[in-house]
Amino acid sequence: MAIEPGHAVDLSGAMVLAPTTPADWLVVGPVAIPIVTGAILLMARHETRLHASLAVVGLLATLLCNIGLLARVLDQGPLVMTMGRWLPPFGISFAADALGASLALVATLVAVVCAFFATADIGAVGRRYGFYPFMMLMMAGVGGSFLTGDIFNLYVWFEVFLISSFGLLVLGSQHRQLDGATKYAILNLVGTTLFLTATALLYGTFGTLNMADIARKADGVRESAPLTTLAVLYLLAFGMKAAAFPVNFWLPASYHTPRIVTAALFGGVLTKVGIYALLRTLVMLFPPELELLSGLIAWIAAATMVIGIMGALAQTDLRRVLGFVVISGVGVMLAGLALGTSEGLAGTVFYAFHSMIVMTALYLLAGVMNGLGGSYSLSKLSGLYATNPLVAAFALLLILAAAGLPPASGLWPKVMLVRASLDSGQPWLAFAILATGLLTTLALGRVFILAIWRPRVAAGPKVPASPLLGYVALTALSLPVVVMGLYPDPIIAVAERAADAILNAPAYIGTVFPEGAAQ
């Protein structure tokens, strides 16, 4: 900084002059650690044997950082750090509140398990083509999306994980992958470009991109600015990312084509980033507009969950069944957004935790079943109960979880959402959630009957893949499913804190702008 002597500049109006405390670095860690690990992996691209262990270590460090961040956020409220020591809104702020920190934690947990499972699923060629670097950069993008407090920065993180996901999706270059990836890439790019369009108009309206700044200025410009248009554009753009009906067709076209561990990571994590962005923009920035749109979102939610699960009923390929189950889960989460009440949003957040873990586990289970039975097709897969009863046990638990039946984790978020729908006088939405639960039981119950109970109808592979690693991964994911199902109180408390964090915008604004004076 070249300041001429004799001309003292008072920087206190623009920059933080106090040194950054070590605890503040927690908010950057969940993004910085995966980026650095990804870069190291790229440099060590010839040493593919090291990739898996480096990635697992990097993700474990990210997980620790996320745990520290969530503990601090739950203890002391949102944590804000503005890059370059500028005062907000001049620099790009990272602002972790209970919603972002908890979702980032669960996403990283899922990624750790996937990285571990990938040691069996991704061979030397896959590693050579960069599975682990792509995965680390994707997790950096996901972490950045959950933690940033700047809406243009959110767009950048979206693109970071999007382009990494392209790399993961085409890994292997099979015909079906190229087909699926083309549709996935084009439709997702259109979605994020719509997001950028909305952000351009938002910048023209507010002259700022800091979300806290937008939230505090929204009331002042509501009379004259097209805020409803912005809210609708964000609903469309993030609805595409989240795979909400009727803009969800990229998901069933692509999620069954990549390696199963990639599908597991995508199915678990990516659609929830769309849900998170919807919560962050619509609930925190544009609450009156959300109220205006709530009827529309309720219909979208009901259509997404029911049509999604009916798609699952019509599929033969196990991975395609799961793709449609992901979509129907998105519908359930949108129901809480439509209600907009504290309990509804807490239900959405809890369902997001549950869905990340359970969908990843279901995809990994499909991978284990394919390794044992030699096929993903429900007309060939059979007789697994006779040979591998443990697979049957995992399948039963995860199916109960996805359908929302006790003792697994799906029950409580659905209870919260159904009660919130009834409290808001929308019994039909509660009915849609319950009907979706029944249809999920049918769709996945049929998978259980055909693949596991049915006596063997087709010869499996001569040497079935050893499921040991799969069992370890499934155990790691099933434990939180059972714990959340049997002892949901702490998770409900976190989900309620997360819902309060976005409903109570003044508190968030107060954290980003401590004096409330800087303009």
Partner: protein, 125 residues
């Protein structure tokens, strides 16, 4: 000036949406490229257009002494250009590979991942 730019943005959006609605991947990609440029122009216009006043603060002052051009939209556009350019390059390669492998760039013919007339799952055993 804003009116002309707004009209240009409108034309860009119209052309890109028309192209994206096409069945052929290469036309869709051209549409996507124009789409991202339409958005870049939107950012530029939304940031207000001020002519020929560079945003430089004189040495002896703490704030600019008159209305200057807004540098932020240009930073945003540069970021967006880099992102959309790299993704567009990726998409071109992907589309070319898909054309080589699948033998078509007609989206109606690209049914490898979702084959037509698949069997329904067994109804019992």
């Amino acid at each position: 000036m804003e009116t002309i730019l707004a009209a240009t943005v409108a034309i860009f959006f119209a052309v890109s949406i028309y192209l994206i609605l096409s069945k052929h991947i290469i036309r869709i990609l051209l549409g996507v490229a124009i789409f991202s440029n339409a958005v870049n122009l939107t950012i530029f216009t939304a940031g207000r257009v001020v002519r020929e006043v560079p945003p430089i603060i004189p040495v002896e002052l703490d704030t600019p002494d008159r209305l200057t051009a807004n540098p932020l939209p240009q930073a945003l556009i540069l970021t967006a250009i880099v992102i959309s350019f790299s993704i567009f390059a990726f998409l071109l390669v992907l589309a070319f590979r898909a054309y080589q492998e699948l033998g078509t760039d007609d989206t109606d013919g690209m049914r490898v991942a979702e084959p037509e007339g698949e069997d329904l799952p067994p109804l019992g055993y």
